[in-house]
Structures are given as structure tokens and as C-alpha cells.
């Protein structure tokens, strides 16, 4: 039985056609994957379904009834729930307070805590999503917080549940239990929409697949009858072989040596006495569930965060040096968030490339910028990295995620530093760009650079890394290579190692 039907949905933003006559129908009891590269129009479509955007044309039917949502409140009332990528929660309130917010049981102005706790317990038992109603949300693991988001939707009688990239922050074990819960919800007659980039997940858990490209539906597939290659073809319009680097073992003198590094935040060691080396000609990956100190470790290495212990780059102790001096000694750094840290989105591509080396002779002379040289260099990198951009003068923020990331990586590689530190090389990046970025990193490794990669995507780490370090609660307890470098082993160490080791 068709529970949700979206027909001929179109939405324009100025001259950009984000959705062009999209059809999507999901049956009750079905898990439906919505796939596509960045900028394909998935978010627009889901925002329309959730009442955040109004379509220019097309209709939405739930249970056969035509819907016209003025806001998410209308969508929620009609039975649409959404688990956002970044949780909409009050971290300082308890689970039950978060759950009943805007929907409080009780009389008049008074909230009945007992009734609210019952709601949490009953829903949890019914769907296998138990949470202690009285724990503080900020103390919970990410997987549990996600569970709360799902419960929140269920408590509002959601029939259609949208999950936006739900596994991005989960360990393999948490991911598996999420999939179990999704299966259970589908068996109760709900319709689930899984928005994701990750093909293995789609194969593992979904029934039907809708693939979007350039604002149109480029493929509707049935999971049982399709293959990875077919999905990829629908997404990018060509076959992409998975890039897996040939593993190497480097024995050169370390380019980066970290010794007894600690970062303290309000008395807590978020990075706790960490030591490791990265050698020229190898890629070292850092795995770990988010929130275990990876960004702080990288910030401390790059010089953005105060730390104790030693950081040695190319044989020189840089522990006391500023960011600028560390860069001069030989570190390039691609930060996790390209909008927040990696670029000034409103500035042009050329300016974003020049910034950071703007005090060197290549970019400036006698205190004045060499505008022509800056443009030429930017133009060269745009060609070399196949960045899709009208010109080097357009604001970098107008590029798609993948193209923006290519520019950031191009800039950092262009610095020619022997050590490259890169966080989340392909987060929010489309398949075509992922392949390009991976090949570029492997090529740089083969040229003899030392590369340190942090990623929340295990498949990516396994494909790229020659060695993987696993972070847990600020420590690095495991350095895995060869046969030990597999999903199951890494997953155990990500959970603290004790459980299965």
C-alpha cells in the first residue's frame, strides 16, 4: 500500500532548478533509500516533504490525502517525522524533557513528569529503543541521542520517517542497532526514507532506491535486484571502481612525531597522553567515534589549540610555535569544516587560494598583492583539480561541496609541505570528487609526502590508510595494519577495546 506519494515536485531558487518534476512513492513497511551526489536535490525534496520549503509545483499525498504544508508543524501533524543530521536537542535537559517538548502531557500549565517518563518507557519498549528517561542528553552517546530523535518522531505518531545521513556519526555496532530498529519500524507499517551517500548501507538495509542527479530522478531501483555498480552509474552516470590504495610500509625517518601530547578542557583531558609517528610515503588514518578527541588532537598538531607534550615536524620541535611558524616548518592542513574554518565562503576562489601564502614572494611584492599572479595560479589549480567553476573570481561559497573541497585540498597541496594533515577528506562530497580526492592523496603519498587522515568514514580510512590508529576517550590504544586493519577489529577498539579484545 502506498503510504507516501510525491508527484511532479518542482522547486526553483532563482535560476537554479533544485527539483524538476520529482516522483517519489514509498509503501507502508518499506525502507526507501534516497541517494544522489551533493547538490542533486535530495535535501530540497526532503525539506519540501517536511514542510520547510514550499514546492513551486507538484503534490504530496499521505494515505491518499493531498497535503499542503505551511510549516513543519503541518507536516508533523500529518505524520511526517525527520531525524536531522545535527540533532535538534537541548543538551542540558533530560531525555523526557526533550521528548515531550511542545507536546507536554499534563494539566493546564503543569507538565506531568510521571506521564512523560511513561511515554519514554512505553515507546522504548514497544520499538526496542529503550533510553533512561532521566539521563541528561549531553551525557548520552551519539547513538543514544539519535534514538531519542527517533522516539521524538514516534511520540508524534509519525508514519513517514526521514533519516538524514543517520550513520555519519555512528560506530559500526551502533549503526547495526540502528538498522535493526529501522527494520522493526518498517515491520510495524511505517514508511522510512534513508537519505545517504553510502552504498553498502543502502544494500544492507533498504528495499527500494531512488537516485537523484541534477534535480531529477536518475534511477529507481529495487535493492534485491540491483548492484553497487548500477547504483553508482545512476548517481554519476559512469562506473567508478573503488579506489583502494596498495598498502605500503614506510621505514623513513618520521616526518611528524607526536610525543605525550595532551589537551585539557576544564580539567578533562580530551586528548590524553598521545604518541605516534607519521613517516614520509605513508598515509596514517585516525579512526574513532566523533567526540573522542580527534579534532582536538589535530588542532594541537596544527597549532590551533594549546597542548602539553611535544610535536616534532621534520625533525624540528614546533611545540611552542604559532600556526604561521608551523606552516613555514612544513605542515599543510585541510580542516574538517570547509565553510567554518577552511575558507572564507564570500571571498573568491582566487583569494581563498592565495590566503595563507599572501606574505610570500609568489603572491605579494613590497606589501602589495600580485593580482595577476594570484589569478594565474588559481586558474592553474582549477584546471589541474578539475574544479567546476565559472571562473576563479566567483565566491568559493557558490561551489558545490565537492568542488569547494577540491579547492581547499589543492591549496594545501600546492604549499608543497612535506606533511599533510587532513580531516574528513570527503565528507559531504559527491562520488566523482571522492574518487579524485582519494587518487590525489595516494599520488601525493607516492611522491613521498607524509599524510595524516582523520575520517569518520571507515570505508574511506580502510581504502586510503597504510596504518590506522584508533582513538577512544582521548587515547590512542591501537595501531592496526595488515590483517588487523578490518572493520570488526577497528569497531571494537572504537568502543574502547575491552568488549571484544
Amino acid at each position: 500500500m502506498t503510504l507516501l506519494q510525491m508527484k511532479g515536485i518542482s522547486k526553483r531558487f532563482g535560476s537554479l532548478v533544485a527539483n524538476d518534476g520529482i516522483d517519489l512513492s514509498v509503501n507502508s513497511g518499506e525502507i526507501h533509500a534516497l541517494m544522489g551526489e551533493n547538490g542533486a536535490g535530495k535535501s530540497t525534496l526532503m525539506n519540501i516533504l517536511y514542510g520547510l520549503l514550499k514546492p513551486d509545483a507538484g503534490e504530496i499525498r499521505i494515505d491518499g490525502k493531498a497535503m499542503d504544508f505551511a510549516s513543519p508543524l503541518g507536516a508533523i501533524a500529518a505524520g511526517v517525522g525527520m531525524v536531522h543530521q545535527t540533532f535538534r536537542q537541548f543538551p542540558d535537559l533530560t531525555v523526557w524533557e526533550n521528548l515531550v517538548f511542545q507536546n507536554e502531557p499534563g494539566q493546564g500549565p503543569f507538565v506531568s513528569a510521571a506521564a512523560a517518563r511513561d511515554v519514554v518507557r512505553q515507546l522504548g519498549e514497544k520499538h526496542g529503543l529503550e533510553i533512561d528517561p532521566d539521563s541528561r542528553v549531553r551525557d548520552l552517546a551519539v547513538g543514544i541521542r539519535q534514538r531519542l530523535e527517533i522516539l521524538k518522531a514516534l511520540s508524534r505518531q509519525a508514519k513517514v520517517l526521514i533519516l538524514d545521513e543517520p550513520t555519519a556519526v555512528l560506530t559500526p555496532q551502533e549503526r547495526d542497532s540502528l538498522f535493526t530498529a529501522m527494520r522493526h519500524l518498517a515491520s510495524k507499517g511505517m514508511a522510512l526514507i534513508l537519505v545517504t551517500h553510502k552504498i553498502p548501507e543502502v544494500i544492507a538495509v533498504t528495499d527500494e532506491i531512488t537516485v537523484m542527479r541534477d534535480g531529477r530522478v536518475s534511477g529507481t531501483l529495487t535493492t534485491r535486484e540491483t548492484s553497487e555498480a548500477e547504483i553508482i552509474r545512476a548517481m554519476v552516470g559512469r562506473n567508478v571502481p573503488p579506489t583502494v590504495a596498495t598498502k605500503v610500509t614506510s621505514t623513513a625517518q618520521p616526518m611528524l612525531s607526536v610525543r605525550n601530547l595532551s589537551v585539557r578542557r576544564g580539567g578533562v583531558a580530551v586528548v590524553d597522553d598521545v604518541s605516534f609517528d607519521v613517516r614520509p610515503g605513508e598515509i596514517v588514518g585516525i579512526a574513532g567515534v566523533s567526540g573522542n578527541g580527534q579534532p582536538q588532537l589535530i588542532s594541537a598538531v596544527a597549532g590551533l589549540e594549546a597542548s602539553t607534550g611535544e610535536v616534532v615536524i621534520a625533525g624540528r620541535n614546533v611545540s611552542g610555535l604559532s600556526i604561521a611558524d608551523r606552516r613555514a616548518v612544513g605542515i599543510s592542513y585541510v580542516p574538517e569544516d570547509r565553510h567554518l574554518t577552511g575558507t572564507a565562503p564570500a571571498a573568491s576562489i582566487a583569494e581563498n587560494i592565495a590566503f595563507g601564502t599572501h606574505r610570500t614572494a609568489a603572491v605579494a611584492r613590497y606589501g602589495f598583492l600580485r593580482k595577476q599572479a594570484i589569478r594565474t595560479q588559481a586558474h592553474k589549480l582549477i584546471e589541474q583539480f578539475k574544479v567546476k567553476a565559472a571562473s576563479e573570481q566567483v565566491p568559493i561559497g557558490s561551489l558545490s561541496g565537492g568542488n569547494m573541497q577540491k579547492v581547499v585540498i589543492a591549496r594545501e597541496i600546492e604549499h608543497g609541505s612535506p606533511l599533510i594533515v587532513i580531516e574528513e577528506p570527503t565528507r559531504g562530497v559527491d562520488v566523482g570528487a571522492i574518487e579524485f580526492i582519494h587518487k590525489t592523496l595516494i599520488a601525493e603519498r607516492d611522491k613521498g609526502r607524509a599524510i595524516l587522515v582523520v575520517s569518520s568514514d571507515l570505508t574511506e580510512l580502510l581504502a586510503l590508510s597504510d596504518r590506522i590508529l584508533v582513538m577512544f576517550e582521548g587515547r590512542i590504544d591501537a595501531s592496526l595494519s595488515g590483517k588487523d586493519m578490518n572493520e570488526a577489529t577497528i569497531g571494537r577498539w572504537m568502543m574502547g577495546g575491552a568488549a571484544g579484545a
Partner: protein, 341 residues
Amino acid sequence: MTGVGLETRSRFAAILLSIVVAVVLGGLVVLSTGANPISVYQEIVRGALLGRGLDETLSRSVPLIGMGLAAAIAFRAGLINLGGDGQMLVGGLAAALVALYVPAPGAVRAVLALMAAICAGGLYAWIAAVLQLGLAIPFLITSLLLSYIARGVTSYLVRYPLRDPSTGMPETYRVASAARLPNSIFDLPISVGMLIMAAVAVAVIVNDKHGVNGFEWRMTGLNPRFAGYSGTNLQRQTQRVAFLSGALAGLVGALLILGQQYRFTDGALLAPGYTWSGLMAAVLAMASPIATVVTAAFFAALQVGGFSMERALGLPAVLTWVLQALIILCLAARPVFFKRR
């Protein structure tokens, strides 16, 4: 066509549209008082641009452009300097003190007075920067509050220790003619103040467009995290930008004292509201120095035209302030006009 070109062009169109709408709305205000809006606008234009009006407009442009650029420099680098009044006051007082009491030949005294004003205004703004960096008190707030302190202290000084008892006003002695800045060079209607301000404006514009420092400031304003990550020493930069912004405000104070008022009179520097008109010009120009200069000159013409219109028609000059505010309001409203969901 590049995205940058498009943005600049639509900005320009938006400013023009805002001016047109403001003029129409202002016309309605005039109409409601029973006067003829056409003759009011005619009188404003005539008064601002013809005959002595043009001289007036030019000389009013000097402090307005100065305060506009002082605000724009800071905006560009992500600082909001609301303390122009205070920086102008300490600059003006420093200039007056040096011009009155330093025993040196007249021209030397004038140069020293200008330098003292630059340092005083700069240091006064720098205090606010240090408070932000050291104690996390927002620059926006301290710079504003420091103005009240400057106002109180300068007011006390000119009422008591520095007062010229021969006048009935709370003011210092008059600066000797030799230490004043000439109002006319080679009998042309160009003052030394105009030349100095023109040089400052060119320097600010060139630095913004072509200078390495200007580039660094602008990128910091766009994204301070990115600037820090790219190796910019943000603490040092904040102090420098604050100093320069305050120094320019201090310079404006000195130019007013040495070129127009010749003595520090309590309240006289602040009465025309240069700081706020300058801030408005910088906001309207979205901190682009060249657009700030144009906008500030436009505001100067509007204000001068307003006074002339008041004399000719008996309608209050406040109308031009209403126009100025209406333009800003229309422009601020612009994103909502065009935003579609």
C-alpha cells in the same frame, strides 16, 4: 559575467532604489506639512552644490569621510567601532593642548598636534581592543562606553583647569593663527584638511584593494576562523586595526580643532553627529572604503542642503536626517523584499 560583478551591480541598484524610495517617502512627509516637496528638494540640491554651498559641502565632507572610513576599516576586519565620539574627543583635545602649550614654531606645532591626535585616538580605541582580548568584554560595548568617559573627562577639563575665562563658554583658549591649518591653498577653496583627508582616503582604498594587510583584514572580517587557521595573528591584528580606526577618528578631531573651530569647546565636536553619519555611511557601503567615501560625501551634501533649505523655506533641516535614515531603512529592508522561500 562573474558572480562578483553581479553582486556589485545589484548592490548599486539596491542603493539607487533605496534613495528613490526614501526621496518619495520624504516627499510625502513634506507634503503632509503642507509644503511643496519639489521646491524643498530643489532647495536642498541648490544649497548643497551651488556657490558657497559647494564649499560647505566639501568642508563637511572631510570629517564625515574621516569618520566613515574609521568605521569602515574596523568593519572590514570584523570589528564594530562605536567609539568614534570618544576617539575624536581625545584626539581633538590632544591636538588643542599641543597647539596651545607646546613651545615650537607654528607649523611644527600643527604637525605635532596632528600626530598627538592620531596617537591619542588610536590608543583610546586600543584600550577597548585590549579589554576585548584580555577580559573578553566585547569591543563594540567598550568602545561605546569609553566615549562617555571621554565626554565626561574632556568636559571637566575644559570647564575647569583648561578654561579660557574670558569667554562665557566652557572652552579652551584659541589656538594661535600660526598653528592653525590653512583653509585655503593658493587662494583655491581647498583646505589643508581636505588634502590630508584625500591622502588618507587614497591610502585606505589602495590598501584595501591591493595591500597585503588590507587583504588579511578583509579575509579576517569574512571569516576569522579561516584567518587564524591560515596563520594570521588575530590578537595583534585586532589591536592594530582598532588603533588605526581610532587614530583616524582622532585625526578628524584634530582637523576640526585646527582647521575650523580653533578651540576645544565642550560639546562642539559631537554636535554635528559625524560619528553616527560616518557609521551609517560605512554600513550603507558595506564597509567598502571607496563606497564609504562616496556615501559620506553624499550625506554631507544632504546635510548642507538641508541647512540651506531651512534658511530658504523655513522647514526644519531635520528633514535631511529623516531622509538619511529612510535610505538606510530601505536598504536594510531590501533582503526581505527579494527573499523568496
